[in-house]
């Protein structure tokens, strides 16, 4: 094999590896990307149980219930149009409260409840994540 050929083979291999990686990445993305839903979107989209999604909205008034085990919290997320019941086992963030913004990571259970694995609450204004800030804005204006 001449040097030139070897170089060509190397370049082709590199291309194949990159294309392979991107294809692998794309197929994994299709299954694994967690889309952001408001309750209205989520109800409309009929998301299959078990699929990772992010649910964003307001914690509905008087909806927070703490279970007797002391670590499970139930609450309702609303965007003014639809509501979704959420169950979360863990330590809630300090700014998690009723009538305030929340983003929950998790998946729907077969019974229709949303099982959250992680909760982001509306932060202090200065350190609010841009994504949350955007969503909060939308949901707030919906409420009014």
């Amino acid at each position: 094999m001449k040097a030139k050929h070897q170089r060509l083979v190397l370049i082709l291999l590199a291309f194949a590896a990159m294309i392979g990686a991107v294809l692998l990445a794309m197929s994994a993305l299709k299954d694994q990307a967690a889309y952001f839903y408001t309750p209205a979107d989520a109800v409309r989209a009929r998301i299959e149980p078990g699929r990772a999604v992010r649910l964003g909205g307001m914690v509905a008034d008087k909806s927070i219930i703490r279970d007797p085990d002391g670590v499970t919290t139930r609450f309702v997320v609303t965007d003014g149009q639809e509501t979704v019941a959420v169950r979360f086992k863990g330590i809630t963030p300090d700014l998690f409260k009723e009538n305030s913004g929340v983003v929950a990571d998790g998946a729907f259970a077969p019974d229709g409840a949303f099982i959250a694995t992680n909760i982001l609450a509306k932060h202090d204004e200065r350190y609010m994540p841009p994504q949350v800030a955007g969503e909060m804005h939308e949901t707030k204006s919906l409420e009014r």
Binding site: M1, K2, A3, K4, Q6, R7, L10, L13, A14, A17, M18, G20, A21, V22, L24, A25, M26, A28, L29, D31, Q32, A33, A34, Y35, F36, A52, R54, R66, D69, G70, V71, K89, G90, I91, T92, D94, L95, D105, N118, D124, R126, Y127, P129, P130, Q131, V132, A133, G134, E135
Partner: protein, 640 residues
């Protein structure tokens, strides 16, 4: 006055960068010996930038509230360490640190680089000045750290409490040294393309700079991971957060570069590829800077949302990366063919290493940018997290480990598969033993952690194999470096696999005096009391933990409330033992007077960071070994 002096120093430094670029460019046209003129300019430019940075630190230490940046991020009640480190705990200050390191790296090249051919060195320094100019412009026009605030407020707004940790003094500087240190490799590549001088001598000159930046990057990432682990209180050590990916991507590229530059230096192969990687590595640093500093990401690292800054960095990014790639495309035809090699050889394994690292880099890049692109194109909001990265990058990382086991056991140029099989017999045996042992001990283990443990055992053994039958005292330092760095990877992967497979978690609400079991430990909540710090108050839980009912340890997790800015954080308490860590977090008080406790037992989790430290140590040994050998060679040349 200090702020004005700082600003003036910055403007002067920018002017000197322009001068350095001009001198370099005319030096390349062959007007006299410009190197003698360029060198002092590069050093003076670095000194001025450093002065500006030190002046900003002084402003922060003095809490000079007439400076807008200080007023927005400092607070008189902060401990001095956080006044000091808070200098770079904000957008403008961290960009000034970025530029300072850029200028200092350039000055380092001007002062220390003696091996590189003169014209290439001039071109390199000109390229470094060109990069600096863009970022000076960014600082001066879009993120001036010295802007005044009139009237000055009575008190500053304080620093994000999540950042008020000793980690802030260590993690950003090391990370930036690595990040921005890669600019040297970028400038070297541009310089070599300009003068068409890509060869082993160029590679040998570039290698120590790449190594140094890579060591710092490794340390910075390792420190950042441990910091996130104990500070966030979520028990995880890597979240595939876009900001973490932004630091991982340059590391992956630099790791590939480190290996390909060795092929170029030793065997004169992979010429164009190495130059390309040097461009890509720093490009990834700039992409990372854009991701983090433009405020488009969700993170504690995203200090402020200002679309103007984002577009400014984006333009710089397009200019530099586009320009370098265009230069590469124009000149790659003139880069002579390197020498050939057999597929079964050290070079062959290093090519595989490079391809796999590039593939992982591609996967991380796609996963990091996809949410941004998808949102800007379709308006759909989505996030890409651990499931994607583990599924896509995990298998390739394992293949990469296999290549890492093989590579050092292969000879340069050409080798026999049969001989390789013989050298691999013992590592393969160990891997098989690990497989058997793991399946016996933990039958239900997931596939990825299982393979992680098996590969860690095999690679750990294989990484030591190059020392086999060698006189250890006569083994060159850089061989030791390779062995230790590879061993570090195995150690780290073992820690990751063990953490993900064997972690035990308990989440409960307990009354005072109640005992909880987690992973063989008994943990009792003794008392909960209020305490006060310099700029926070907290409720502190006192836990006693016992592994066997006899000995006992005390842990004190806190829930802190900072008042400037008003934020609450959970301070976890961690007990480190030789075989793992007990990780405890205190939650809220429930309505019936119980306290939430979240406890983890994480077997051998510390190996993750110990491995990272070993990798950096290996890099340091290799660096010292290379420099010593070259020094000796230079001395011999003088005497010959």
């Amino acid at each position: 006055m200090i702020a004005e002096a700082g600003l003036a120093a910055l403007w002067l430094a920018a002017a000197l960068a322009a001068l350095q670029l001009f001198l370099g460019a005319s030096g390349l046209r062959g007007r006299g010996d410009m190197l003698a003129a360029v060198r002092p300019v590069a050093v003076a430019q670095a000194a001025l930038t450093m002065l500006a940075f030190i002046l900003l630190i002084v402003l922060f230490l003095r809490v000079d509230l007439s400076v807008a940046l200080v007023a927005a991020n400092d607070h008189s009640a902060k401990p001095w360490l956080y006044k000091f480190a808070g200098t770079w705990g904000n957008h403008e200050g961290s960009m000034l640190m970025w530029v300072t390191i850029l200028a200092v790296a350039g000055a380092g090249v001007a002062l220390l680089e003696r091996r590189l051919e003169q014209r290439t060195l001039i071109a390199t320094l000109a390229a470094q000045a060109l990069i600096s100019l863009g970022f000076y412009a960014f600082l001066l026009f879009a993120s001036n750290p010295f802007a005044r605030l009139d009237p000055a407020p009575a008190e500053g707004q304080g620093l994000n409490p999540l950042l008020q940790d000793p980690g802030l003094a260590f993690h950003p500087p090391t990370l930036y040294l690595g990040y921005v240190g890669l600019s040297v490799a970028f400038s070297f590549a541009v310089g070599a393309l300009v003068t068409r001088d890509v060869g082993p001598a160029f590679a040998r000159a570039m290698r120590p700079w790449v190594l140094a930046a890579w060591i710092m990057l490794t340390l910075g990432i390792t420190a950042g991971s441990y910091w996130a682990y104990y500070e966030l209180g979520w028990g995880g050590w890597w979240f595939w957060d876009p900001v973490e990916n932004a630091s991982l991507m340059p590391w992956l590229a630099a790791t590939a570069l480190l290996h390909s530059v060795t092929v170029l230096a030793t065997r004169d192969g992979l010429r164009a590829w190495t130059v390309m990687l040097a461009v890509v590595a720093f490009s990834m640093s700039m992409v990372g800077t854009f991701l983090v500093r433009s405020g488009i990401l969700t993170s504690v690292h995203a200090f402020a949302v200002d679309p103007r800054r984002g577009s400014f960095i984006l333009v710089l990014l397009a200019l530099y990366i586009g320009g370098a790639l265009a230069l590469f495309a124009a000149r790659v035809g003139t880069v002579r063919e390197g020498s050939r090699f057999d597929p079964v050889s050290r070079e062959g394994a290093l090519v595989v290493n490079n391809l796999l690292l590039s593939a992982i880099l591609g996967i991380v890049l796609v996963g990091t940018l996809y949410p941004l692109i998808a949102e800007s194109l379709t308006g759909e909001k989505l996030s890409v997290g651990a499931p994607y990265f583990n599924a896509a990058a995990g298998p390739i990382a394992l293949a990469l480990m296999a290549a890492m086991a093989l590579g050092p056991l292969l000879r340069w140029g050409r080798d026999q598969l049969r001989a390789l099989a013989r050298r691999l017999a013992l590592p393969l045996l160990l891997a098989a033993a690990a497989l058997l042992a793991t399946i016996l001990i933990a039958p239900g283990i997931d596939i990825l952690p299982l393979l992680g443990l098996v590969f860690a055992a095999g690679v750990g053994a294989a990484s030591l194999a190059p020392l086999w039958k060698r006189n250890l005292r006569r083994t060159p330092l850089f061989t030791w470096g390779m062995v230790i760095a590879h061993l570090g990877v195995a150690v780290s992967v073992a820690g990751m696999a063990s953490e993900s497979a064997f972690t035990k978690e308990t989440l409960v609400s307990v009354r005072l005096g109640e005992m909880v079991a987690v992973g063989g430990w008994g943990v009792r909540l003794e008392k909960v009391e209020p305490i006060a710090g310099p700029n926070w108050t907290a409720v502190q839980g006192t836990l006693t933990a016992t592994p066997d009912g006899v000995s006992s340890y005390t842990l004190t997790p806190q829930a802190r409330a900072f008042w400037a800015p008003p934020t609450e954080t959970n301070e976890s308490a961690i007990l480190s033992r030789w075989n793992g860590q007990l990780y405890t977090v205190l939650g809220h008080k429930t309505e019936d007077g119980r306290w939430q406790l979240r406890l983890w037992w994480k077997p051998f989790v510390t190996l993750i960071w110990a491995g990272g430290a070993l990798i950096a140590l290996g890099g340091a040994l290799a660096l010292i070994g290379r420099l010593r050998r070259e020094h000796r060679a230079a001395v011999r040349e003088v005497w010959a």
